[in-house]
């Protein structure tokens, strides 16, 4: 039952004031450290800038018309960076060997796609052994999550990782993609 009032010990006054000061310090130290990030840009964890999505999307295309005039700022076509390249994971179905795109978190939980893509970039720069170990771990996650009922994906023969470039120069409704196989296990 909630009761108004708090526990007070019968500590000596000096110990109590020392405890109080420690508590105020415990408040001030993290707040002060985080406050410094208001004035500087640095990556980290626990203390950081939270700079998610802060980079500007600059148009990669020429923003001038053939006659040399500038495209209006608010014209839709001048907005898009119409291309993005990402690692994309595909599974090869057992039996028919057809591919299945596996870019959903349910297949890999608790690993999220951002972490997997960062991991793929790291192992791509490391050795083939590390690459194989990561794909094996991913295969194991896929199987475990299927067993636990988190997804209904088919059994896989192998996992393929592509570098896929998505292009939507023709508009959001008409995207195209090209891909290059970079890993398979």
């Amino acid at each position: 039952m909630p009761v108004v009032g708090t526990t007070r010990s019968s500590w000596p006054r000096a110990a109590q004031s020392l405890f109080k000061m420690a508590r105020v310090l415990a408040f001030l130290v993290p707040v002060s450290i985080q406050s410094t990030y208001l004035f500087r840009q640095a990556d980290g964890w626990l203390f950081e800038n939270f700079s998610l999505f802060s980079a500007l999307s600059k148009p990669t295309r020429d923003t001038r018309r053939e006659d040399g005039t500038e495209l209006p700022r608010l014209e839709e076509s001048s907005y898009w960076v119409p291309r993005v390249t990402r690692y994309s994971i595909y599974g090869v179905r057992q039996g028919d060997g057809t591919e299945l795109r596996l870019d959903a978190s349910a297949y890999w939980a608790p690993l999220d796609l951002n972490r997997i893509r960062a991991a793929l970039a790291l192992v791509a720069r490391a050795s083939k052994d590390d690459e194989a170990r990561l794909l094996e771990a991913l295969g194991e996650r896929y199987r475990l999550n299927a067993e636990r009922g988190r997804h209904r994906g088919p059994p896989l023969e192998s996992i393929r990782v592509y570098r896929v470039t998505y292009d939507w120069t023709a508009g959001v409704d008409h995207p195209t993609s090209t891909r290059t196989l970079v890993m398979e296990r």
Partner: protein
């Protein structure tokens, strides 16, 4: 006036909370952490190749082998047990501190593998505040099990202002988080972040690359087709993030800016599938759950005297509840007084209660007056037995509970 006195005054004026509030916040934070992480497999991270291990500079000597899967699994189980204990308030000081320590290690370990995710940062500060700055023992099983200890402790005690340091700490970290994010956008991209279609582009990229699973499929594409509207949204995001520190000093900002920030984070999840569930949980530190006020000495009842309940005699529901409890009231040392009684006008004034606020109940117990639905809950607690479970109603934020109770009269 010294700086420390100014700071104390600022803290006091802007962190008005009832002692019950922090206890209920503890329940919500540790309880929701348990629900979120109960099926989370931390051991999966320990099975990844060691090349992905990216510890900070000071901890380079620690190898990933230390976090072998069985050890991580054991830590996870221990964390879940500690979270349950901290949520219900069993051995609350030990379990809260343990939950903070083990949770920080597990979340740090997860974020040392390949990629550091910002979404877990604020909940670590919430655990830190509840475990280190102040461990709220209100609204806890400890209060039931070790009643005598707390009765001795609370005799003559008043609300401890230091407790509210925990609430203020989480609010400050949350405000700094948003402000840093806003400043980061300005520093990296300048004001163009809100004028050059960045948000539209982001929405298009996420939608077209099937990056995540948005809760409202098609919403990101639909918005991406209208870059002008996306820019309007982006121009709203920047000032909103930069104005986050206002929630620390202004009641109005807490009513406007805090909900707007909550909606902004929730809409990331709805549109893009980018979720910050544990950051959303931290907004509980902006809610109020209890509603009590200290009475002037003239209105205080005798410590040994019966608690007095003032109720709105015009309300059918109030009369029904009083009728239900009247028989047991004498044995429970409870006295019911109708609100139109001449004796209670001064009491209502001193407890800042008015009918226009929809306040139908007032409970006076010793030096404290409980108002509205909080008075009703305290009355249920005094009734004892099964009625004591009514205390769980404290888990509903006051902003939802009070309108409901004034409509129902309870």
């Amino acid at each position: 006036m010294s700086v420390s006195r100014l700071a104390a005054d600022l803290l006091k004026r802007n962190t008005v909370a009832s002692p019950v509030d922090l206890g209920v916040m503890r329940c919500w934070v540790f309880g929701l952490l348990f629900l979120h992480y109960v099926r989370h497999d931390f051991a999966a991270f320990a099975r990844l190749p060691a090349v992905l291990w990216r510890p900070p500079f000071l901890l380079r000597s620690l190898t990933m082998e230390f976090f072998e899967p069985s050890r991580v699994h054991a830590l996870h189980v221990a964390w879940l047990v500690l979270l349950v204990f901290a949520c219900i308030g069993l051995w609350v000081r030990i379990s809260s501190f343990g939950a903070f320590l083990v949770g920080a290690v597990l979340l740090w370990f997860e974020n040392t593998i390949a990629y550091a995710n910002a979404k877990d940062v604020l909940i670590i500060w919430a655990m830190y505040a509840l475990a280190v700055l102040s461990t709220p023992d209100q609204f806890s099983v400890d209060r039931l099990l070790f009643r005598r200890r707390f009765e001795d402790a609370s005799r003559g005690a008043t609300a401890d202002r230091d407790e509210f340091l925990a609430i203020y700490c989480v609010r400050v970290m949350l405000a700094l988080m948003f402000c840093c994010a806003g400043l980061s956008k300005l520093r990296t991209s300048g004001i163009h972040w809100g004028t050059s279609g960045t948000l539209a582009n982001l929405l298009a990229a996420k939608a077209l690359t099937w990056d995540r699973s948005p809760r409202v499929p098609g919403l990101a594409e639909a918005l991406a087709r209208h870059p002008r509207w996306c820019d309007v949204l982006a121009r709203g995001v920047l000032p909103l993030e930069l104005s986050a520190p206002l929630v620390l000093v202004s009641e109005w900002a807490r009513r406007l800016v805090a909900p707007a920030l909550f909606v902004m984070l929730a809409s990331f999840w709805l549109m893009l599938g980018i979720s910050f569930p544990m950051t959303l949980v931290c907004f509980v530190f902006f809610l109020r759950f209890g509603d009590e006020v200290e009475l002037p000495a003239s209105d205080r009842s005798d410590a040994t005297g019966p608690a007095r309940v003032v109720f709105d005699a015009r309300s059918r529901w109030c009369r029904a509840w009083v009728g239900c409890f009247e028989e047991r009231a004498a044995s429970k040392s409870l006295e019911f007084i109708p609100g139109d009684d001449a004796r209670v006008h001064a009491l209502l004034r001193d407890a800042h209660v008015s009918g226009s606020r929809g306040c139908r109940w007032l409970l006076l117990k010793g030096p404290t007056a409980y108002r509205g639905s909080a008075a009703f809950i305290e009355m249920l607690a005094i009734m004892g037995g099964v009625w004591r479970l009514g205390c769980l109603l404290y888990l509903i934020p006051r902003c939802l509970r009070d309108p409901l109770s004034s409509r129902r009269g309870a």
